[in-house]
Symmetry: C2
Subunit: 296 residues, 2 copies
C-alpha cells in the first residue's frame, strides 16, 4: 500500500463531503459561511475524519456511510483552532501559512464562525440517522460521546488547562492532561464514532480505543519533536515556536531521546491493540507507523 497516496485519497473524499455538507458560501448571511469555509479549507491532514472512516472499515463497515460523522469531527477540530487563535487566547496571526480567521474576517465573525462550525457538527451527526446511514441508537450514542469528548471532560478541559499553564506550573502530569484532553479526546472519539456507527462489538471497541489513545500520544510527541528538529520548508511552518512560547513539551520535559522512545513505545502499543483485526485494519496500522516517523 502506498500509504501517503491512500491518506491523500481519503482526505480528498472528506474534502468533497465537507463541501457538500456545509452551507454554500453565498447562503445568507454570506460572511459567516465564507469564514467557516475559509478556515475549514485552509489545509490540514484531515486526520480525525480519516480515523472515523478507517475505524468503520476496520470493523467491516462502509466508510462512505460514516462521512457525515467524519466531517463533524473535522468541523469541531476547526472550530477549536479558530477560537484557539483568537487574540484573547493564543493570539496567532497565521496558521498553516495563511492569516487566521479573525485576521481576515475580524474577531466577532471569527468567534461566530467557530460557534457555527461546532453547532453544525451536531447537525451533521444527526444526519447519520436522518439519512438512515446507521441505526438510530448508534447515532445517539455517538452524539453523546462526541459532546463529552468536545466538552470540559475533553477538548475544552485541555484547552483551559493549556491556557492557564505557564512554564512554572507545567509538570509531566499536567502536560499529559493537556495532551490527553486537548488533542487526545478528539482522536479517541473519532475512532470510537466510526467503530460504533459501523456496529463494532464490545471487544473491538475497546481495542480501537486503546489504539486511538496511543496514536494520539505518538502524534503529539512527534509534533513536539518536529518543532525542535523539523524542516520548516517540509512542515510549512516555522519551528522553535514551542521554545519561544515557553510551552511545555515532551522534549523540553524529558529530552529528545526519551521523547522519541516514548513515541515509539506508543506506536507499538497502538499496533498491539490492533492484533485482533484482520487486513481491514491495514490502514490504521500504516497510520500508526506514519505518525511517529513523519517529517511533516
Amino acid at each position: 500500500m502506498d500509504f501517503l497516496a491512500e491518506l491523500k485519497a481519503r482526505a480528498a473524499l472528506v474534502d468533497r463531503a465537507l463541501d457538500e455538507f456545509l452551507p454554500p458560501e453565498d447562503a445568507y448571511p454570506p460572511v459567516i459561511h465564507r469564514a467557516m469555509r475559509y478556515s475549514l479549507f485552509a489545509g490540514g491532514k484531515r486526520l480525525r475524519p480519516v480515523l472515523v472512516l478507517a475505524a468503520a472499515e476496520t470493523v467491516g463497515g462502509d466508510p462512505v456511510k460514516v462521512l457525515p460523522a467524519a466531517c463533524a469531527l473535522e468541523l469541531i477540530h476547526t472550530y477549536s483552532l479558530i477560537h484557539d487563535d483568537l487574540p484573547a487566547m493564543d493570539n496567532d496571526d497565521f496558521r498553516r501559512g495563511k492569516p487566521t480567521c479573525h485576521r481576515v474576517f475580524g474577531e466577532a465573525i471569527a468567534i461566530l464562525a467557530g460557534d457555527a462550525l461546532l453547532t453544525h457538527a451536531f447537525a451533521l451527526l444527526a444526519r447519520n440517522a436522518r439519512e438512515q446511514l446507521a441505526p438510530v441508537e448508534r447515532v445517539i450514542q455517538v452524539i453523546g460521546e462526541v459532546a463529552v469528548a468536545a466538552g470540559t471532560p475533553g477538548l475544552i478541559g485541555g484547552q483551559v488547562v493549556d491556557t492557564l499553564a505557564t512554564d512554572d506550573t507545567v509538570d509531566a502530569a499536567t502536560l499529559e492532561y493537556i495532551h490527553r484532553h486537548k488533542t487526545g479526546a478528539l482522536y479517541r472519539v473519532s475512532v470510537r464514532a466510526g467503530a460504533i456507527l459501523a456496529g463494532a462489538g464490545e471487544k473491538q471497541l475497546e481495542a480501537l480505543t486503546a489504539y486511538a489513545e496511543n496514536l494520539g500520544l505518538a502524534f503529539q510527541i512527534q509534533d513536539d519533536i518536529l518543532d525542535v528538529e523539523g524542516d520548516p520548508a517540509r512542515l510549512g511552518k516555522p519551528v522553535g515556536s514551542d521554545k519561544r512560547n515557553k510551552k511545555a513539551t515532551y522534549p523540553a520535559l524529558f529530552g529528545l531521546d526519551m521523547a522519541r522512545a516514548r513515541a515509539k513505545e506508543a506506536v507499538e502499543e497502538a499496533l498491539a491493540a490492533l492484533e485482533l483485526f484482520d487486513e481491514r485494519a491495514g490502514f490504521l496500522r500504516e497510520l500508526a507507523r506514519f505518525v511517529a516517523t513523519r517529517d511533516f
Copy 2:
C-alpha cells in the same frame, strides 16, 4: 391560575435540573465550571426551558421527562449571551446587574465557557435517549432541529446580521430577520422540542410552531417597548440603551403605537393557534397574554 407563581415554580424546577445536569463547580478544571455556572445562574426568566415543559404538557406529555432538553435550550441561550457580551461583539460589562462573564473570568475563559455550554447542551439532549425518557427517533429529530435553530440558519445567522447592522442599513425586513433568527429561532425550537419529545402529532406540532413564532415576536416587541418606557427599577436594568446604541427596534422603526398594536396582534395569533388544544394549553395561553403586558 396565578400565572406568575406558576412561572416561578417551573423556573425553579428548571434551576434544580440545571444544577443537577451541570458538572460540579469543583470538577477539574474548576475555573471553567465556575464560569459556566456563574452565567447560567445569573438570573433570567428561564422562558425557553419553560416553553419546552409547557409544550410537552400541552400535548399530554410529562414535563419532567423533557427536563434535559429544556435545560439544553437554556445552556444554548446562556452561551449566546456570553459570546454576545464579549469585547469583540457588544462589549457589555454588565448583564442583569452583574458583571459579565469575561469581566469576572477574563476573555479566554468566557469564550471557552460559551463553547462548553453549547457543547454540553448536545450532551444533555442525547441524555433524553440514554435515560429512555423519549423514543430515540424523537430525540434524534430534536437534536437535528436544535442544531439548525442554533446555527447559521437560526440564532447565529441573526447574530451575524445584528453584528454587521448599522442604523443606516436596518430596514423593517432586516429587523424582522434579526428578531426571527436571533431570538425567534430558539423560542420556536423550544416549543417544538417539548412537543416532539412528548409525541405531538403533525397538526399539533404545526399549531405549536405558529404559537411559538408569534410569541417570540410579541416578546421581542415588548422588549423594545420596555427599553423606551419601562421602569428601570422594575426591569432591573437601565432603559434607553437601544436608542443610545442606535439599535433598530420596532418602536424606532414604526413608533410606539404601531409597535404596541403589532405585539397585541401577535399575541392574538398565538392564542388562535392554540385553539385545537384543551385546558392543558392553559399555561401557554397565560404565557402569551403575559409577554405583551409584562413590565419586567
